[in-house]
Symmetry: C2
Subunit: 244 residues, 2 copies
């Protein structure tokens, strides 16, 4: 049997919690994880506070195969993710020689001062490995199973593209969607019976509502095609029977 691979995500930043910035990274990571067969099991949005970040990282890194973080790795005083990750792992946060040299050369080449603020972006927990940043150079990093990436969506996505090929992936969850023109109240009972009869699947029911009318999308998920097909057929028959 193929291994189940799990993941959690930490979104770090006061601006998400205040509503000032609307997160665009959760949905993207969720899509990518589903595509490669990793089960995203939990997401937490935490403020720019060291104790909160440390507690959240330690809570999830022990439970899941992988952890992905976004946010808080820029050059300003409120970017405390690198320090917090180092603290969570009990290692020093320090200039990474390779990141420092690479950034120093880059800024020199552009005639820009390598300010203290910019130098902050070369700081990582000791022993961290780089996650390349093809957009704006300053790398993300990985410590054990924790992947630390930028919050700016275009940079996060580029970093994640570099991370995904390094991950072990699990049995892909197959899925099939059955459109149901009836509300959940009409089909909830028989749908529950179908779920019971197909324990090797997960059947989700997603209510939709607009213009005073309910309808439902029924999603069957399974790790084998046979299980998927069997449950899908049962759901389709049930919906057809409702329409009679």
């Amino acid at each position: 049997m193929t291994e189940i691979v799990t993941a959690a995500m930490l979104v770090i930043g006061d601006e998400i919690l205040s509503g000032r910035t609307k997160d665009k990274n959760i949905g993207h990571l969720a899509d990518i994880m589903t595509a490669v067969g990793i089960d995203l099991k939990e997401v937490r949005i935490v403020p720019d506070e060291e104790d909160e970040i440390v507690a959240a990282v330690n809570a999830v890194r022990a439970r899941y195969t992988y952890v992905f973080t976004t946010g808080g790795i820029g050059p300003t005083h409120d970017d405390i993710t690198a320090d917090s990750i180092a603290k969570a792992f009990g290692v020093p946060c320090e200039y990474d020689a390779r990141a420092y040299a690479m950034m120093e050369a880059n800024y020199a080449g552009r005639g820009l001062e390598f300010t203290e603020a910019r130098k902050r972006m070369a700081r990582m927990p000791r022993g961290a490995e780089h996650i390349d940043n093809p957009v704006s150079l300053a790398p993300g990093f990985r410590v054990e199973n924790v992947h630390v990436m930028a919050g700016v969506p275009s940079i996060f996505q580029a970093m994640l593209d570099n991370v995904v090929p390094t991950l072990k992936t699990g049995a892909k969850m197959l899925s099939a969607t059955v459109h149901c023109p009836f509300g959940e109240g009409a089909i909830g009972g028989p749908l529950g019976e179908i779920q019971k009869a197909h324990p090797d699947t997960v059947i989700g029911s997603y209510p939709k509502y607009a213009d005073g009318k309910f309808w439902t999308e029924l999603v069957v998920r399974a790790r084998t095609q046979a299980a998927l097909d069997s449950a899908r057929a049962a759901v389709e028959a049930m919906v057809a029977a409702q329409g009679r």
Copy 2:
């Protein structure tokens, strides 16, 4: 001094974690909380699994003034929020007499069967108070400081409109945004000094990136106008000095 009022949000649903549905409720709640002076301190997205929901509810309800949940209160087998909240509080989950009677009368009036699935939506933890649902009738509910609402955005928003007037609100966080045409690397150092000199404010730096160019939005937040004005003036002077 005005009290600080805090909140956490739980988004309940496999469909958010799989990427199939993109959450629209976090940003809305965050905006509303900020508008009324409640600090949203944490958000967790958890799967449709009882143990996970119970653990998350119990973790956050003890820490924050209020908890708001979305999702999992519909009529289908995968809607397990009511049972999970009851379990978290150690009370039975049962038909609420008033919700049951109201829904029974409504379905009868529309000539629809009051199916077992629809009856599920009248189940609540014993002692829960209703949160009215002007969109589709079936109520949300409150147990102590935990407010349980629907996941469909239009219904969630309508329920939240009914909840907000019942909440005690804190000192509103005032904010001022200073546009900065430079990247964080240029202004990170002096901005950190301004933060140190204005400890009664929270100064956030939000990097923006597009078309190969960085700029920054600097946001000063404070609970008094005097503190806000003083820090804002310092940030504006710093940005102007960079441009010289």
